[in-house]
């Protein structure tokens, strides 16, 4: 097996991974950086983010206001020290990206423009039309080509973390084009593998978002934090789940039920605002959890529109006019036209809530370090936590940058001071075991199970039991089903015996990751007997700060369901209060 010696290995080359790689290369050109990704960097799902990235930059804004919006939006489950750090760093990171060439949309003066976003009291969302994530990713990727010390390993699927003496020793990965296993020996590993939206059937997430990094850390003993918090984006295209950015509502789009009513006014987000004059933090500019929950209630009342893709409501953009839509939202106009055959200039677009983002993830501290020495994490796969129980739109792109860089700096400091030398014998042994385990997958007996069958059973039970509203019975059933599916997956026999670009093999590996991650969602949700942010229990409808102002921590117990523990939320200056999106002056 080929062994590659590095100082820092980064797993995942989306926004966070690329930002980390650049930060490492800039911090110390002598550092040997290995950047691993199961796809080419520009395929990473960061490219699908549309609306923008939040950062305080305008005169009418302040760091405190961004802090309040973020913490309140997260239903006070955010770690406030992390939020403060994040908000302080945000403008600098966004400006740095501008210096690297990101084509931010501009004001007529040439200054960077900002747009309104849900749950934000002030306009502070930087945007590049409606392809912000795409431009951010490509800017980072192209900028990364400047640095010779970043050695890229594209289409290399990380299968195992190497851990010995209680610390990271590197990782093991499958080179997809050859089928060969590679061993990376390094004192530090940064996981930037993104979320796991694919555990649900209806998601904005691309096929690659299968929670691989979360599962790697989890198996290595690192807890997954706040996994029960899954964000539904209120405006997904039915059928495909394609995202229509929150920017649609930021620019003035409104939601209507089948009677044409702006129903959000009935769910504590009114009074109704005049058409074409969106009011910040009110009605359609409320937070995503509230909007998605309002849809559920409308559905219960029979106010949704039945379509061939299921129940929908309408996103009405007609009053914005063609010119504004073409300037600000050309991509989503094209998407709606192509995939549901509706031109938003003249027609209402059918939409429904769609799984979009995992607030939870690999437990890290404010330095992006996990409890396992040498292991760091950033981006959607991590939980710092700045998003709490509900992320505000446009905080996550900024989070990639701020904590991607933070993880790199922490890793560089660790490598340069604390890290003892690699235990090569232990690493070699573990790598050999990992390789043997992969090879053994080829010889597995056919237990009559299929990949698609188990995957569909997983996504179905997640939607049924761990959706927008949950209860004890539903979650229990889902947790049990997932436990059974975890056992049953051993009965999938590989029909593809080839080494070269064997996507059946990688899908089997991804499925194992997804099942473990899904189980932590269900079991953490079962344990949290309250309703907070995106986690809504029909049997515990109120927030319960005395018992659950705490992060849930899911620890792997091997084949068994996870053990759930709790960690207190860090509160620096904002005591839990009422989330007010009624348009009242705060």
């Amino acid at each position: 097996m080929e062994t590659i010696q590095s100082d820092v290995v980064i797993v995942g080359a989306g926004g966070a991974g690329l930002r980390a790689a650049i930060a490492l290369a800039e911090a110390d050109p002598k550092l040997r950086i290995a950047l691993l990704s199961k796809v080419y960097p520009m395929r990473s799902h960061t490219c699908a983010a549309e609306g923008g990235a939040a950062g305080v930059v305008k005169g009418d804004d302040s760091l405190d206001l961004h802090f309040d919006d973020t913490v309140g939006g997260g239903d006070w489950l955010c770690d406030q020290d992390a939020v403060e750090f994040f908000i302080n760093e945000a403008p600098r990171e966004l400006t740095r990206l501008e210096h690297w060439g990101c084509p931010w949309s501009r004001e007529s003066t040439g200054a960077v423009g900002v747009r309104p976003f849900g749950g934000m009291k002030i306009m502070r969302t930087w945007f590049a039309a409606d392809k912000t994530g795409f431009h951010l990713l490509h800017t980072l990727f192209q900028t990364s080509l400047k640095y010779p010390s970043i050695r890229r390993f594209d289409e290399v699927f990380t299968t195992d973390l190497l851990v010995a003496d209680g610390r990271i020793q590197g990782c093991c990965a499958l080179e997809m084009r050859s089928g060969a296993m590679l061993q990376f020996q390094a004192p530090a590993v940064i996981l930037c593998t993104g979320g796991a939206g694919r555990v649900f059937p209806f998601t904005t997430n691309g096929a690659i978002k299968t929670g691989d990094g979360m599962a790697l850390a989890y198996r290595a003993g690192v807890p997954l934090k706040d996994m029960e918090f899954v964000q539904y984006h209120p405006t997904g295209l039915p059928g495909t789940g394609i995202l229509l950015t929150e920017g649609c509502r930021g620019e003035g789009g409104v939601l209507r039920n089948k009677n044409g009513d702006r129903y959000l006014k009935d769910y504590g987000m009114g009074p109704e605002t005049p058409l074409g004059e969106p009011v910040l933090k009110t009605m359609e500019l409320g937070p995503r959890d509230r909007l998605s929950q309002a849809f559920w209630h409308e559905q219960q009342k029979g106010n949704t529109v039945p379509t061939k893709w299921g129940d929908c409501v309408y996103l009405d953009m007609r009053h914005l006019g063609e010119q504004k839509i073409n300037e600000r939202l050309p991509f989503v106009r094209d998407l709606a036209k192509s995939y549901v055959g509706v031109d938003m200039v003249s027609e209402q677009v059918p939409i429904r809530p769609v799984v979009h983002y995992m607030m939870g993830g690999i437990h890290t501290d404010i330095h992006a370090a996990t409890p396992l020495p040498g292991l760091f994490a950033a981006g959607e796969c991590a939980c710092v936590s700045i998003n709490g129980a509900n992320r505000l739109g446009s905080n996550s792109l900024t989070e990639l940058l701020v904590f991607g860089r933070r993880a790199a700096e922490s890793a560089a400091a660790y490598v340069n001071s604390d890290a003892p030398p690699i235990d090569t014998a232990a690493a070699d042994r573990q790598a050999a075991e990992a390789e043997a385990r992969i090879h053994a997958l080829f010889d597995r007996a056919d237990g009559g199970e299929t990949l698609a069958g188990i995957r569909t059973a997983m996504t179905d039970t997640m939607e049924t039991g761990a959706g927008i509203y949950r209860d004890e019975a539903l979650l229990t059933d889902t947790a049990n089903t997932l436990a059974a599916l975890r056992r049953r997956q051993g009965g999938i026999a590989l029909k593809d015996k080839s080494k070269v670009f064997n996507t059946e093999l990688t899908q089997v590996l991804e499925l194992a990751c997804m099942l473990e991650v899904a189980e932590t969602v269900a079991v953490s949700g079962l344990a949290r007997k309250e309703s907070r942010g995106s986690h809504q229990r029909l049997d515990y409808v109120d927030r319960n700060d005395s018992d659950y102002l705490r992060h849930s921590m899911a620890y792997s117990q091997g084949e068994e369901a996870p053990r759930i523990d709790y960690l207190d939320v860090v509160i620096t200056k904002s005591r839990p209060g009422v989330r007010d999106y009624s348009g009242a002056k705060s």
Partner: protein
């Protein structure tokens, strides 16, 4: 929802078993609103799990799923079955690239070429982050914006006959990105990029077939970018040779 039975003729190549690619047919019950990729996914999930291909976002932005559909370079997640009449569709890997396996092609060549054109901002003077952003008016943004939209899906290389005849050609997407940075009001790196652009394998290998722009799913218009660069290079040459006093 109405269904349509379509026969997919898919190119298969397993380097460990096959000496040359061959065509396998699958009969797929297709929903009317499907794209080509949905049908390929159906094959993978229900008919033949050994089929290899790339895909991710299913919304025409990650650039993974470029394939040749009925002879035309196509982004398979944005190719709607409603636009294909008849009962047969042929799906092959992108042309002009080596086939790694089935519908997966080798992209090393493009990745090297992309790096060679220095596709990153090289400002005249580095401005400290603390001093804020570089100013850029909407007009200046518009000058290069179109060329930032490239998703690296490689359809343009698959369409370009010059790339097929001379694989040394830098090619449409990489040159369009070069042009993107050259046109950016914040950039001063054009002369550094000229080394690659102005060589024979740069813009001059392009004979303006225009196929790249016709197949581009993002309207980047690489053909236009290349012609504009030819003009700029020509102007450079004349200024340098006819007005030697202008030389630095």
């Amino acid at each position: 929802m109405s269904q349509r039975q379509i026969t997919f003729e898919v190119l298969r190549y397993n380097p460990e078993a096959d000496s040359a690619p061959w065509i396998q047919t699958y009969s797929v019950p297709c929903e009317e609103e499907w794209v080509i990729l949905d049908a390929i996914n159906y094959i993978k999930d229900h008919l033949d799990s050994t089929l290899s291909y790339r895909w991710s976002c299913h919304m025409a932005v990650c650039g993974s799923c470029g394939m040749t559909v009925n002879g035309e370079p196509t982004l398979s997640c944005k190719a709607f079955l409603r636009d294909y009449k008849g009962s047969k569709i042929r799906v092959e890997p992108l042309t002009h690239f080596p086939v790694e396996r089935d519908l997966v092609v080798v992209l090393d060549d493009f990745m090297e070429k992309l790096q060679s054109v220095k596709p990153y901002l090289m400002p005249k003077t580095e401005k400290p982050v603390e001093e804020g952003e570089y100013k850029q008016t909407p007009r200046q943004l518009k000058n290069y914006k179109q060329y930032t939209m490239c998703i690296n899906c490689m359809l343009c290389y698959a369409a370009c006959p010059q790339y097929a005849l001379n694989p040394e050609f830098i090619g449409p997407a990489a040159l369009a990105l070069t042009h993107r940075y050259n046109l950016d009001s914040r950039d001063a790196g054009r002369s550094e990029r000229q080394e690659v652009v102005a060589q024979h394998e740069g813009v001059w290998e392009c004979s303006f077939v225009g196929a790249c722009s016709e197949v581009c799913p993002k309207d980047v218009d690489p053909a236009g970018a290349i012609q504009q660069m030819k003009i700029a290079s020509t102007v450079d040459w004349h200024l340098e040779h006819l007005m030697p006093w202008r030389r630095k």
